[in-house]
Subunit: 278 residues, 3 copies
């Protein structure tokens, strides 16, 4: 596997300023829009079933967030239209195993839409892979939390879903696992406070849309660069939180600011990744 | 009445990290999730009528916010299921007297769901008690604002609703009144800027869910401890606002941060309450 | 044209504290509520078709935001009721040219509701005037961006829509153009970072509601004073951003704070406007 050029991926986002459409939940929709703007992308959150096909025709990437399960009709219409037009589609299976409605909607989306990237925590990825109950709400189940010793299993889980769906897969956790087919990357950036705000995952999925929109032929690299960018921003925000003795609300603001101010240099110097050889 | 052990209630939230489900309005849903995370609880905002019963089965408390009046079907399903499972339910009658739809929905919820705590401003509590028009939108009507001389009336209002509904009642204002049956507590913490942000009330209701989820057998103490926690956080945020010469937006951030950083010690030292003997 | 008294308009908002109802999109609804509170107004975001007529009866201004296109039935009911009661109605045609559903909804709203002020970017105003496709999502199309040399055309565009609709028109851009019939004002305040957050436009429309609610007989002056207020707040937030080396998320907070802290004096001293004589 060649060396990852994260900086080039970030530069592409800023140069092309892709318009990213998110059909996403009411909780974090504002954060998703603002992090897209922070990265240099543009955002539309159009989600009405009667307009999403029109909207998709004008965007460079589409993000479907299962938290917006009430918009599942719009997600299906938009996803299929995006496939028809060659617009990359990202899937965030928020709390996929939490309720029957989510399991069923996730299954239908995976059947009818070809995704470029699927991004979730270990419980959500497991739920898609095993199609069974799991996860405690929007959080990862304790049994699923990615630990150092559990990394090989997490890699296998991501690989399995990737092979089955032909999508790149980002399995987020203390270590992020990015897979496409047999290729697997471990990414060792981030901060613990990301789990103390709502929307860390949603924002990463939105950002993955921005990176895919700028580099539509490289979903694996886009997924990895998006994960690296927000994780590095999280480290910077954590540093500020400790220094200023603030809390999770300021952390969220500093996280978005840090994406706004992230330089290619910082990304090159700060990223800690390794190719998984197992 | 024994001495209130607010610190123990806060410790329980942090130890048990209850998962709180909020069916709440689009305006403040993000703030509610973040303040739950700040307190050490976890949050799910699942609100689709086809999934709320599933979701309730996995949570430790349920918060129904009348601002989400469009989700009234989901609120009824979730509320009844929570009652069946013994999950405590909190009701926030946002702007209950403002429109016919809200009055009717509030009446139906009170008929069909047994609440552990009802939390509103004086106009909202009055509206539930008298089942008539009142309140100017989401704000308390001037005639209803809790003043020192009006405290006995506010106490009676809260008692009346508590006895009728068998719920603890938090009547929020410059002085918070917490009642359960004949028991009444006055809480003299808080800051005037809380009325200059949207979501102070919604966040307190969400937080009340966290405290009830951690201590399901003590709704009165949970309601009081939640009110004390956010009020003390408001005092800290007010201090910062005056010092930094900021405004309501920074205040909102500092409020959530202050819940994140609130210590049992601060709660013990800062809380100013008295048992109403009238 | 007499000298504009922006300070008197701001003073009226703070004195009368108008209650403003926004039927607005899920992305920026929280920001709209908080900027209304920052300005000294009050906010209700009631948007259910079964309650908006009731709500309108209690408010001083109504803001309809096309981003909430799913609430178009509620927008029509509320708009017509507001007209019947003499409550000023503001229209924000978010991304009006982006999809067929938005074009059709905008056309219907313009046919059935008399607006006091219409506020959009150049692409949106053009879309309403020419009733054809345009705009890239929620952002202004590059061809439509208001430049110094294009100001006369922007003025004509705003005049055309104003004459056709009998509403005052705010065309937002690097220079804001405010028109009513033949009267045109150019406003040269603001900051480039306003385009890097979501909600700058929505917040201005909400604020325009506050100013119209306080001065219902002066829609042109209200529109201009609202635009001046947020633009000056944007300048202050920009100053802070550069000084503190923050990003768009902190900018958004500082923008709302700066409206909170805006003084009549600052408004008088800082505003840069000119009457267009063309």
């Amino acid at each position: 596997m060649e060396r990852m050029d994260f900086a080039a991926m970030l530069a592409a986002v800023r140069e092309k300023a892709p318009l990213v459409q998110c059909i996403t939940n009411i909780v974090t929709v504002n954060d998703c829009a603002n992090i897209l703007l922070a990265a240099g992308a543009s955002a539309t959150m159009a989600h009405h079933p009667l307009e999403v096909a029109d909207a998709v025709a004008g965007v460079q990437a589409l993000v479907l967030n299962l938290g917006a399960v009430g918009d599942r009709e719009a997600m299906l219409i938009a996803g299929k239209e995006a496939n028809r037009l060659g617009v990359p589609v990202i899937f965030d299976p928020v709390a996929a195993g939490f309720t029957g409605l989510r399991r069923e909607t996730a299954r239908k989306l995976l059947e009818e839409v070809q995704f470029a990237v699927i991004r979730g925590n270990a419980s959500e990825i497991r739920s898609l892979t095993e199609d069974k109950e799991g996860g405690s709400g929007v959080d990862v189940a304790q049994a699923d939390a990615v630990t150092e010793s559990g990394l090989p299993q997490a890699a296998e889980l991501a690989r399995t879903l990737s092979k089955r769906t032909e999508a790149a897969v980002t399995l987020s956790g203390a270590v992020d696992v990015i897979a496409q087919g047999e290729r697997v990357l471990f990414l060792r950036n981030g901060s613990p406070t990301m789990a103390r705000i709502t929307g860390s995952g949603c924002m990463l999925s939105a950002l993955t849309g921005a990176f895919c929109g700028a580099s539509p032929d490289k979903p694996f690299e886009a997924a990895a660069a998006a994960a690296a960018s927000i994780a590095l921003a999280g480290e910077r925000a954590e540093e500020l939180r400790l220094k200023k003795e603030t809390g999770n609300a300021t952390f969220r603001i500093d996280l978005i600011d840090s994406v706004f101010n992230l330089t290619e240099e910082q990304l090159i110097q700060g990223v800690r990744y390794e190719v998984y050889q197992g």
